[in-house]
Symmetry: C2
Subunit: 116 residues, 2 copies
DNA sequence: GATTGTTATATATCAAAATGAATAACGCAT
DNA sequence: ATGCGTTATTCATTTTGATATATAACAATC
C-alpha cells in the first residue's frame, strides 16, 4: 500500500546567501547551450527574456569564471554560448541533484512509510 | 580553506502536490502549542493571523486526523491546541529535517569541496 | 444580557515579482 | 550606409502574495 504523502526537497547552490545555481537556472544554461542564444532559450522555457538575462548576469557575476559568453552584433545579431566552466557546473550540479534526490527518496521510503 | 559556495536544501511533505508540512508550518504549530492560540502564535512569528489561520485550516484539511483543535468563545474567548497526532507530526517532521540536513551537509562537504 | 478575547470571514490595500513593450547598442553582412 | 537579429536597458503593466482592516460568530463569565 502507498501512503498519500510524499517528501519533496529542492536544492540550490548559494554564494553569500544569494542564489547561484538552482534547477531553473541550470535548465536555462542547457537551453542556451542548445539554442545558442538567450532569447531563444527564454522562449523555449516560456520565461521572459529579461528574467533569463538577469539570471545569466547574476550567475556570471557570482561565479569565479563566466558560465556564459554573450556576443552582440555580428552575422546573426549575436548570441550566447556556454563556457567549458559553465558546462562543468551544469554537470556537477545535476550530479549533486541526482544524489540528493536519491537520498530524499530513501528518506521518504524509510521514514515516511512508517509514519502514515 | 573554505570555498565561498554552499549547498542549501529545503524539504516539505506534500499530499497530491499540495504542501502539507514545511518548516514554517511546523514552527507555527510549535507556537500554537506554547501560546494556546493562533492569534498569539501569529504575532509571535510576525505572521498575519489570516495566513496562520489559512495554514492551520489547510493542514487539518489535508491530514487524516486534525493537527490543531480550535475553540471559540468561552472564558478566554477561545484558543487552539495541538493534538497528540499534531505533536507527533511535529516531532517526526523535525526528525526528518534533521536527517535531511545532515545528508545535505555531507553532500556539501564531499562534492562541492572538490568543485570550487 | 453585556463583556471579553478568540476564531472565522470578507474586503481592501500594499508590496514584491514577473511580464510586456519599447528602444538603444552592437557588429557582421550585403 | 542599411539591414538584420541579438544583447542590453528602461519603464509601465500585470500578476501574485501577503498584509491590514473591519466585522460577525461564538461561548463562558459576570
Amino acid at each position: 500500500m502507498r501512503h498519500p504523502f510524499n517528501i519533496t526537497a529542492t536544492l540550490e547552490v548559494e554564494k553569500d546567501g544569494i542564489c547561484f545555481l538552482n534547477a531553473k537556472r541550470i535548465e536555462l544554461l542547457r537551453q542556451i547551450k542548445s539554442n545558442g542564444s538567450i532569447l531563444a532559450a527564454s522562449k523555449e522555457m516560456c520565461m521572459s527574456y529579461q528574467q533569463a538575462w538577469t539570471f545569466v548576469k547574476q550567475m556570471n557575476l557570482l561565479s569565479p569564471l563566466p558560465l556564459v559568453i554573450r556576443k552582440r552584433g555580428g552575422i546573426n545579431g549575436g548570441g550566447a554560448e556556454i563556457t567549458r566552466f559553465g558546462q562543468d557546473m551544469i554537470e556537477r550540479f545535476e550530479k549533486i541533484v541526482a544524489i540528493h534526490q536519491t537520498k530524499v527518496r530513501q528518506l521518504g521510503d524509510e521514514i515516511l512509510f512508517c509514519i502514515f
